[in-house]
Amino acid sequence: MKYEAISVSDLNKYIKEKVAGDEYLNNVLVKGEISNFKNHYTGHLYFTLKDDNSLIKCIMFKSYTGNLKFTPKDGMKVMVFGTVSVFERDGVYQIYCKAMQEEGMGSLYKAYEELKLKLEKEGLFDSKYKKKIPFMPKTIGVLTSQTGSVIKDIINVSTRRNPNVYIRLFPVPVQGEGASIKIAEAIKYMNEKKLADVLILARGGGSLEDLWPFNEEIVARAIYESKIPIISAVGHETDFTIADFVADLRAPTPSAAAELAVSDIEEIKLKLHNYNNRLKLALKKKVELMRMKYEKCMASRAFKEPLQRVNEQYIRVDMLVKSLENSIVNKYKDRKNELLTLVAKLDSLSPLKTLTRGYCIANKEGKTIKSVKDVELNEEIELRFIDGNKKAKVLD
């Protein structure tokens, strides 16, 4: 058997055709971890996909990158769909990717949709359960990671708006296994001990997997049951977690959550100042109005010549007094005449008058004797004459 040498190009061409003829290799779905990721200036993406034992080169042309729902990065676990083909020049085979998604995202997304629907049906997102965020909370509870920019942003914004603010940080893990339980426990603990007037539940941006604790039922229920109003600020503005739907208020970012929780003290001071001014102005207006009324009154005739009316009254009083005097004098005169008549009448009836004519009155023990039966023999009686009394004895 005699071998005839072929060129490298021919070989690679042959392999390329072999591979292209394989139906299975034309449509592959492969999962692995991204490494050596390069975003070329042309817009094409170059990377390798690997697992523990092996790797394969991948390319995604710019025309397909527009459909990506995430930004691929080294270390990310993904699924790619595409065609395996040979690059003749380099003699390498690689995956020409048409689509790529984060691995696990499909099932996570399904779980998210299912839970969202379930809780929505139960009414956990109902606006009637949304509690009002207090206007001036004394204490602001923050549930987030102790490290990182989120807590820093919240503290910065809060203290800028109100330097006297009281912030209580309850550090919780915001991603990974068990984070949801810790978050739910923290919400319950803050409620039990009444450690805050409002709670901020916050986390920075991340993949759907990173944000997952905030999509878990245990967190949703803890938020729903919280007596303390909760502001959620999870992920970027475009990320909506279940926690965001249940929370009493959703903030697009942690900084925005701080703005919603903490009132701007300068604004409030200004408001108070305005109230003070309004009160002062209103009272001043009232007093001014009263002064005007008073001045109008004082300008009237009665107040201008106050004595005139008094003098008029004096004259009236004088007249009344005079007529009173007159009537008294008249009455007195009448009485006097009446009396004189009576005295004359009395005088004519007086027994004394009879005595002057020579009669006398016989008395016994101070009583006038009117009958012979009133005296007995030898009894002493008294006789009253006009000019005195004499004792006498009854002889017969």
Binding site: N164, Y166, L279, K286
Partner: protein, 74 residues
């Protein structure tokens, strides 16, 4: 949290009093007493603002005990 001096309610009352006083149909005595009441409320608000506790703390959980310590952002 204790309810003794609720800022929100106090400022709402202040708003009501300001409106009443501005309407002007109260007599002078009533106006003066409303004014005094309003100024008192305003002072109360300022006091709440000034007396607010300033603190940034962290709750630290050790086993079943939770302690509160000052938190310093580096």
């Amino acid at each position: 949290m204790e309810k003794e001096a609720n800022f929100e309610d106090t400022i709402k009352q202040l708003e009501i009093i300001a409106n009443e006083l501005e309407k002007g149909d109260l007599n002078l005595d009533e106006s003066v007493s409303k004014f005094e009441e309003g100024m008192k409320l305003s002072k109360k608000c300022s006091q709440i603002l000034e007396n607010a506790e300033k603190r940034i703390s962290i709750l630290i959980k050790k086993e079943d005990e939770v302690t509160e310590e000052d938190f310093n952002v580096e």
